[in-house]
């Protein structure tokens, strides 16, 4: 028999909680500044310590069904931790290591930007490391038992290991240095390969593809030069039209469909233009074409169709309905 979550919370915050505490229910501390430590060998159903700014480590011997510890300053997780269903460490930007042979149902490591590697022997059903931009490779030995694998924004990943051979869904968005997949990989659901480095899938021809969540035919991913402006204008589904626009390139599209310039002026990046493209049986596409002052890259951002001037459109994009209020002192 354990004690109630409310009683356990009182003991823990007063610093009088004994070791080997067994707690029934959800032990909820989200955002609690007073929480500085938890007793060793704590057992509970769910432990929620998200956004606790003064908690810097989890206790030795922690045993729980679910641990939610996102947006804390954890640097590591104890070797002795046991989590059955879900370990969520989203936004732990100081996290640098996890225990070897960590076994858990779902492991969420979204935006753990300091994490450079995952532990050897990792054993999970679902893995989400999206935004782990320092992650350079996956373990040499590990197991994902048929669930979802989200590698979105893992920009340093260059290859996937051969043990990753059976997954339901594989999200590779933004994995720009990933050019091939293991021949042995079988994906039962879909692969999202938007902005990844993959330009063909010779061994995975039948796998349904997605581009930022939108189901697409392989041609859209692998042969964007075949997309025409006319085809885009005739695409009924707005989301698919957006993907085709993106793949063709706004600049190519606007040139091909003969966009009208409604207004033009200058900002910190150089010339900017307000463009209009009439779409058949749809409202006009009006967009502001701007150049980033830091990177010189061109961006086209769609604005409400009633916009009249480039400055009005830039103000609207920045969140100002009144253009007079948009007067940035510095733009980079």
């Amino acid at each position: 028999m354990g004690i109630s979550a409310a009683e356990a919370k009182r003991l823990i915050l007063s610093g009088q909680a004994p070791e080997h505490l067994v707690v029934q229910g959800v032990l909820e501390f989200q955002g609690e500044k007073q929480l500085r430590s938890l007793p060793a060998f704590l057992t509970c159903d769910t432990l929620d310590v998200r956004e606790c700014p003064n908690l810097h480590r989890l206790p030795d011997g922690l045993s729980a069904g679910t641990v939610l510890a996102g947006y804390t300053h954890l640097q590591s997780v104890p070797d002795t931790i046991k989590v059955k269903f879900k370990l969520d460490l989203e936004g732990c930007t100081s996290l640098i290591s996890l225990p070897e042979s960590l076994k858990v149902g779902s492991l969420i490591l979204r935006d753990c930007v300091s994490l450079r590697q995952l532990p050897e022997g990792l054993d999970v059903y679902f893995l989400d490391v999206s935004g782990c931009s320092a992650l350079e490779h996956l373990p040499e030995q590990a197991r994902v038992q048929g669930g979802h694998v989200v590698l979105r924004g893992c920009t340093r990943l260059k290859s996937l290991p051969s043990w990753l051979n059976r997954v339901a869904r594989l999200d590779l968005r933004g994995c720009e240095h990933l050019h091939t997949l293991p021949e042995t990989l079988k994906v039962s659901g879909w692969i999202d390969l938007a902005d990844s480095g993959i330009t063909s899938l010779p061994h995975h021809g039948q796998v349904p593809l997605r581009w930022k969540g939108v189901p697409i035919e392989p041609r859209i991913a692998f042969d964007p030069a075949s997309i025409t402006g006319q085809e885009i204008l005739e695409t009924d589904n707005a989301e698919l039209r957006r993907v085709k626009l993106e793949r063709m390139g706004y600049e190519n599209f606007l040139a091909e469909v003969d966009a009208q310039i409604l207004d033009q002026d200058q900002d910190a990046g150089g010339p900017r233009k307000l463009l209009k493209v009439p779409l058949p049986d749809d409202e006009d596409l009006v967009a502001l074409w701007v150049i980033c002052p830091s990177t010189d890259r061109n961006y086209v951002i769609r604005v409400p169709p009633k916009m009249k001037t480039a400055h009005q459109a830039a103000a609207w994009i920045a969140g100002f309905d009144d253009p007079k209020l948009y007067q940035p002192v510095m733009e980079t």
Partner: protein, 99 residues
């Protein structure tokens, strides 16, 4: 005083809104695809706050440097700021600009 750092807007404010909660870390926004982030360089110079999905910056030093892998650095003087993302229009919804 308004600053634009790529797709992030920063505006000086006089007071923090009531109910704002401390937010760990120094990241204001992270690129969905690139993994690059708009963030304050030195954690000792700021305390971030959040309320209803909005982020507020308390610059506790004379200057805090707003950095990003691709955008030039903006020095923010001591004070309070509100931070938000650019928006874009689609026929279905108005949403934050996705980068």
């Amino acid at each position: 005083m308004l600053y634009r750092h790529g797709d992030v807007l920063i505006q000086a404010i006089k007071t923090l809104p009531r109910g704002a909660q401390e937010r760990p870390g120094t990241i204001l926004a992270r690129g969905e695809l690139t993994g690059h982030s708009h963030r304050i360089q030195d954690p000792a110079t700021v305390q971030l706050w959040h309320l209803n999905g909005e982020i507020f910056i308390e610059v506790k030093a004379d200057t805090a440097l707003l950095i990003h892998e691709e955008h030039k650095t903006i020095p923010l003087p001591r004070g309070l700021y509100k931070s938000w993302m650019q928006r874009e229009y689609t026929p279905q919804e108005i949403r934050r600009v996705l980068d």
